[in-house]
Symmetry: C2
Subunit: 325 residues, 2 copies
C-alpha cells in the first residue's frame, strides 16, 4: 500500500527513524540495562523489535499492558511499575510478573492476587506514587513476611525528564537517585529500576532504565539534546481551505493535548477541535500534512493502528493492542 | 454489579442525570428540532435513547460514526457535518446519508463516493470549515449540476458556544446566523442546520440544532447557565497516598486534557500523568473518587465502555462503539 492510500488521520512511523532510535539506545544501554516502557507505544509489534534489539525485560503501566505482553510471548520479565489494589488478573498470567508496591494495602493486593514478586516503589521527588525513602526497608520486611520475593526498588524521577539544561538534569538526577540508592540499602535485592528518556544518559545509579519515549519521540523530548529523532507523525488530509487558513482532519481525538498544540512543519497551528486542526498559511484541499504530536503517549492511546512507512510505501500495519485497562 | 466492583478507571453515567438531560432537551427542542451530535458520546446505546426521546435524525463527525449508526439501525437520516475527500464508504451504507461540502473537491468526492445528498457548509465566523457565505449559492448550483440533491445549509458557530454571558451569546449568535440565513436564501432546500449545547436556546434561526454535549455535559459547559447537569464522571481508585497528597489511577490516557485539568469535588488537582492524577488533601488508599472531565468528547474517545449507574448499582454497560475513523 502507498502512503497516499492511507485513510486519515493515521499514525505513521518512519522506518529509518525507528531503526536509528532502536540502535542508538541498544548501544547506549544494551540488553537488560534498558527495561523499555511499553506505555509509550502500547504496541506489541514495537515491543518485539525492542526485544530483538536485546531488551527482553519490559516495564508496563497498566494491567492490560502486562496481559497483552504476556499474550504476545514477551513475558520473560514484566514489571508493572504502578500500584494496583486488585492484582488478580496479574496472578493468572503465564509470565514472570513483578508489581510495584508502596503501602501495606498494595502488598496485600499482591498477596491476594497471587503475584509473587514485587519491587518497593520509592518517592524520589515527583509528588506521585512511592513510599517515603525512610519507609522502604520497613515495607520490604513486611512484603517478605507475607511471602513475597522483593527484587529491589524502583523510583521515577519524572519531574526531571524535561529539565532543559543537561548539566542541571544530571545534578538533580544525582540528588534524586541518592534517595533511591539509600532506600535500596535498606531493601536489598538486585534491581534499582528508574529513569526515562530524559535521564537515560545521566542516570548511572539505576541498574536498569525504564525509558519508552525514545523509540517514537515527540516535540517535548526533541527540545532536549538527545540523540533520538522524531519517528512518529499523524498523517492528515486538508479537507477545507480558505484564503487565510486550512483545516486538516485530525484533532483532539487523534492527538494527546496535555503538552499543547501539535506542530506542522513550516505552518502555524491555530487551534484543534475534535476532528480538525486549523493552520496557516493555507494548503490545498486534498494535500497531506505530517503532524508532530506534542506528547506521544496519549496520542498513541487514541489510535487503533500504527503504520510503518519507508518513503512512500506502507511496509507494515500494527494494531495498537495494549490500549485500555 | 456494584459500583464498587468496577475496574478503574471507568466511565460512569448517572441514570437520573442522563434522564434529566434527555427530557429537558426533548422538551426544549422536540423531535427533528434537535439533530443530536453523536461525537459527544460515540455510543450507539446512548443514541438509541435519544431516538426514543424523539430525535431520529443524527449528526456525525466521522465516517466511522456514520457507519456505526447505520449498523445499529439508526440510519433514518444521518448528517456527516464534516468534509471528506473519500466518500466511498458512505455510499455503500444502507442508510440515508447526507454529507457537508464546502468546495468543488468535496462535491466531487460526494459524487464519486455515491452519496446523493449534501448540505452546503457555510463559514459563520469560526475559522474552520465552511465556504464564504457569498460562495454558497454557486456551490449549490455546482452540486445540483453534478446530480446531487442539496438539502440546505449548515454552519457551526463553535466560537460562540462558551461565551459566558447569555445575552452576549444570543447577540453574537444572531449575527452569525444572519450569515447562514443569507446563504440559505441563495442555496434553497429545507435544512438550516447549526448550533450546539451552548447556543441551543438562543439559536432560533436554525431549523435544527446539532447539540451533543448536553447529554453527558462537562465542567466547561457547566460554567454556563444551562439546565443540564453533569452526568458523566470517570471513576478512579486511590492507589497511593502520602501525608500531603494522594494519587488516583486515571490520567492523560483516560481524560481529554485540551480544556485543562479535571475536577475532583472538594479536592485540588495538582497534575495528571499518563495513568495518574495527583491531588490534595489526600484520601486513603483504596478510596474511590468521581472525577469530572474538563471536556467530555475527547474523554469518551479514550474509553471502551460506559457504565450506567443508579446509586451504587451498575445497571448497564455499553460499548463506546463509534470510536476511530
Amino acid at each position: 500500500m502507498r502512503l497516499a492510500d492511507l485513510q486519515t488521520p493515521a499514525l505513521v512511523v518512519e522506518r529509518a527513524a525507528l531503526e536509528h532510535n532502536l540502535a542508538t539506545m541498544a548501544e547506549a544501554l544494551p540488553g537488560d540495562r534498558l527495561r523499555p516502557h511499553v506505555k509509550a507505544h502500547k504496541t506489541t509489534a514495537l515491543a518485539r523489535l525492542q526485544a530483538e534489539a536485546g531488551h527482553r525485560r519490559f516495564t508496563c503501566a497498566t494491567i492490560r499492558e502486562v496481559e497483552g505482553m504476556a499474550a504476545a510471548g514477551l513475558g520473560d520479565d514484566l514489571l508493572l511499575a504502578n500500584e494496583v489494589l486488585d492484582a488478580s488478573r496479574l496472578g493468572k498470567l503465564d509470565a514472570r510478573v513483578t508489581v510495584a508496591v508502596d503501602s501495606e494495602q498494595t502488598i496485600e493486593a499482591a498477596v491476594a492476587g497471587g503475584v509473587g514478586e514485587v519491587v518497593i516503589d520509592v518517592n524520589v521527588g515527583l509528588p506521585r506514587c512511592g513510599c517515603a525513602p525512610a519507609d522502604a526497608g520497613r515495607l520490604a520486611d513486611r512484603a517478605r513476611s507475607r511471602g513475597l520475593e522483593v527484587r529491589g526498588v524502583m523510583g521515577y524521577e519524572g519531574h526531571l525528564m524535561l529539565v532543559g539544561d543537561q548539566g542541571e538534569r544530571a545534578r538533580t538526577t544525582e540528588e534524586s537517585m541518592a534517595l533511591l540508592v539509600g532506600a535500596f540499602g535498606d531493601v536489598g535485592g538486585e534491581l534499582i529500576s528508574a529513569g526515562g528518556t530524559g535521564t537515560y544518559a545521566v542516570n548511572t545509579w539505576a541498574t536498569e532504565i525504564q525509558a519508552g519515549s525514545y523509540l517514537l519521540m515527540d516535540t517535548a523530548y526533541s527540545a532536549l539534546e538527545l540523540p533520538f529523532v522524531e519517528a512518529l507523525t499523524v498523517l492528515a488530509t486538508v479537507v477545507s481551505a480558505s484564503p487565510d487558513w486550512a483545516v486538516a482532519d485530525l484533532g483532539l481525538k487523534s492527538l494527546g493535548m496535555d503538552h499543547g498544540n501539535p506542530t506542522i512543519p513550516s505552518r502555524d497551528v491555530w487551534f484543534c477541535s475534535d476532528e480538525h486542526t486549523t493552520f496557516s498559511p493555507p494548503a490545498e484541499v486534498g494535500d497531506r500534512v505530517r503532524v508532530l504530536p506534542a506528547h506521544v503517549d496519549p496520542t498513541v492511546a487514541l489510535h487503533e493502528w500504527i503504520h510503518l512507512v519507508d518513503g512512500d510505501e506502507v511496509v507494515d500495519t500494527w494494531p495498537v493492542d495494549l490500549r485500555g485497562w
